[in-house]
Symmetry: C2
Subunit: 346 residues, 2 copies
DNA sequence: AAAGGCATTCAAAGCGATTTCAAATTTTGA
DNA sequence: TCAAAATTTGAAATCGCTTTGAATGCCTTT
């Protein structure tokens, strides 16, 4: 109610006995203003805590000073997303750009949300994530002419700015390593079907198998969201197969926790009876090095990706062409205790 | 660059052969407009995808249409926060209110961030979280006259709108239950010192002990952030004490994972050699029921709290007095396999 | 001494909405 | 039938900023 009336440019100008024009210019670093005046203005502004009204500034400049992020299902704001977000945020904060986070219930609503963002001009750009192989949202954003950077990759007609990690190569190397250790029945707990990253991972997995003349057993490939519970169930079922898998490729650390539990419940030992390599997005609160046994991982910091994507967004907004913004990050393979030689007997 | 020129009120008005005034009124449901015209306007607006420019609307109405959330450390955007946020978001989305998330490096920056939000009028209200017993940020927000709802409680001179869970009672009941089971050396892995919720939990813990004529052993009380790694180290150290603790109260599910690992590494069994009751904020991807053994918990959905706080914010903005907005939520005690009778011998 | 140039400053016109106040039209009532 | 009231519309002011174009004063230059 009794909101304090924030100081306006006009007030500041009157206080200084100057015109709004001059004060505005002084604060925004325009050259045509006397150095002495500029200092005087800056000092007063600082002292009185003046900051331009954001809405007015946006209206006048036409820039929203914000980037949007639409999350599907509200659950999508899980550990991956929050880690990614804080990466984005740490850079955006330094640029005084706001992050506008909205959540929607489903695909249709998501498309509607982008249309709304475009029409109401609330954001200058958008970060698009978890793309499918041919992503409708990306097409819509192109059509709406709202700049965006994609976290991941997709195949639509036009060039798109993106940053992705090399999932194919990561899984090919992880799988090859397990094959080197003598494993022949290797389970893949992958992300949901249709997502580009999941497809890429499966390609890498199959490539490694094929290179040894092996075929993937469909019973050993699961697609699902990355929660410990689903992973537990899938791993449990797979461990009941005969011959059972001797190794698991887990799509995330949450998945790894579930698999781990299934292994233990089956009375088996991780690292000897069964091996596991998990993908690690590097969560500060869940460290592969501190697990017991320590977890072998394919590792890539999703937070760093967020920070970099924020930088790329700024480049796009500065006029760089989307066709020139592509980054494919390599993924480390870090071997620890959870991956060992295949057991002699099953 | 070649941003598509979004349709303006003026364009829409011209298209309809009406004045901006009438169109604006028609869209905003003012009574003094002919029903036929209103329908015609609504139809055209819908067809042409018109939405008011957010900045202009905000400037004209003086309402920002957004609530702010400042996160300290960017790490603060961990699993708790993201779960809370998606609770907030799900309600805010239904009200067409944006969430403005910013991250800061430390306490000083956080205070500065609030001053900035106030001066630039980017938000109508703020959600304050993780308060200390006497929270400086709350005082600042009062001073800045920026409405807010606190997630947790604090003690400053003036009345503050808040929603909190009953941490004291939760820990008192959990501790009492362990005492009933015969445990006498019960470790408390609490949140960082100074935070209200951590103090409240310790009060509950001590109250239960005192009721049995026992004293808390300082060596069995740890204060830290809720990560599996720190919890692992603390639990490990405590398990080396003689006599060692026979039960743990874990502050979060992440903490529980670390304690669990320490127990296993010490060659002990959870549920028989050592008991544990963990606080569960209800993460969809980490379920106490699906752990092995299943985890006894004090449970309260942090997501639901977020949703409710969003509602409370809207009430505050609608003019409800902060003094009338207080909610203390009970916490469930859910007993599962991880808490059992104290072992006979140590 | 007049003119041109430079450094500063300012008045006023946007930006795209809402809202006040007045005008035009229709309806009502006597 | 005509004034008064009710209904419906519109012109213009306003929100707080940026930015254009003009104005001011002071040096130089010729």
């Amino acid at each position: 109610m009794g909101r304090i009336a924030a100081m306006r440019l006009k007030d500041l100008a009157e206080h200084l006995g100057l015109s709004q024009t001059t004060v505005s210019r002084a604060l925004n670093g325009y050259p045509e203003v006397n150095e002495a005046t500029r200092r005087r203005v800056a000092e007063a502004a600082n002292l009185l805590g003046y900051r331009p009204n954001a809405s007015a500034l946006r209206l006048a400049t036409g820039r929203a000073g914000a980037v949007g992020l639409v999350l599907r299902g509200a659950d999508e704001l899980g550990p991956h997303m929050s880690e990614f977000l804080s990466g984005v945020g740490s850079y955006m904060a330094s640029q005084e750009i706001d992050m506008l986070v909205s959540t929607v219930a489903n695909h249709q609503e998501e498309l509607a949300a982008y249309r709304r963002l475009a029409a109401s001009q609330k954001v200058d750009a958008v970060i698009l994530h978890s793309p499918t192989v041919s992503d409708e949202r990306a097409e819509l954003l192109m059509e709406l002419k709202i700049p965006f950077v994609l976290h991941g990759r997709t195949n639509i007609g036009q060039p798109v700015a993106w940053l992705d990690i090399d999932n194919t190569s990561a899984l090919e190397r992880a799988t090859s390593h397990l094959l080197d250790l003598g494993h022949r029945r290797i389970a893949l707990l992958n992300g949901v079907r249709g997502r580009t990253f999941a497809e890429h991972r499966e390609i890498g997995y199959r490539a490694a198998l094929t290179a040894r003349g092996l075929n993937a057993d469909p019973a050993l490939v699961g697609n699902s969201a990355f929660t410990d519970e689903i992973a537990f169930r899938m791993a449990q079922a797979m461990l009941e197969l005969r011959p059972r898998p001797t190794a698991f490729l887990a799509g995330s650390m949450m998945t790894a926790l579930g698999v781990f539990r299934a292994i233990r419940q089956a009375g088996l030992h991780l690292g000897s009876d069964v091996s596991m390599i998990a993908h690690d997005d590097v969560f500060p609160y869940l460290n592969a090095d501190n697990m017991y046994p320590t977890m072998s991982t394919t590792r890539s910091s999703i937070r760093q990706a967020g920070t970099r994507i924020a930088e790329l967004i700024m480049q796009i907004l500065a006029g760089k062409s989307a066709a020139e913004v592509h980054e494919l990050w390599p993924v480390e393979l870090v071997l620890r205790e959870s991956s060992g030689p295949a057991p002699r007997t099953l």
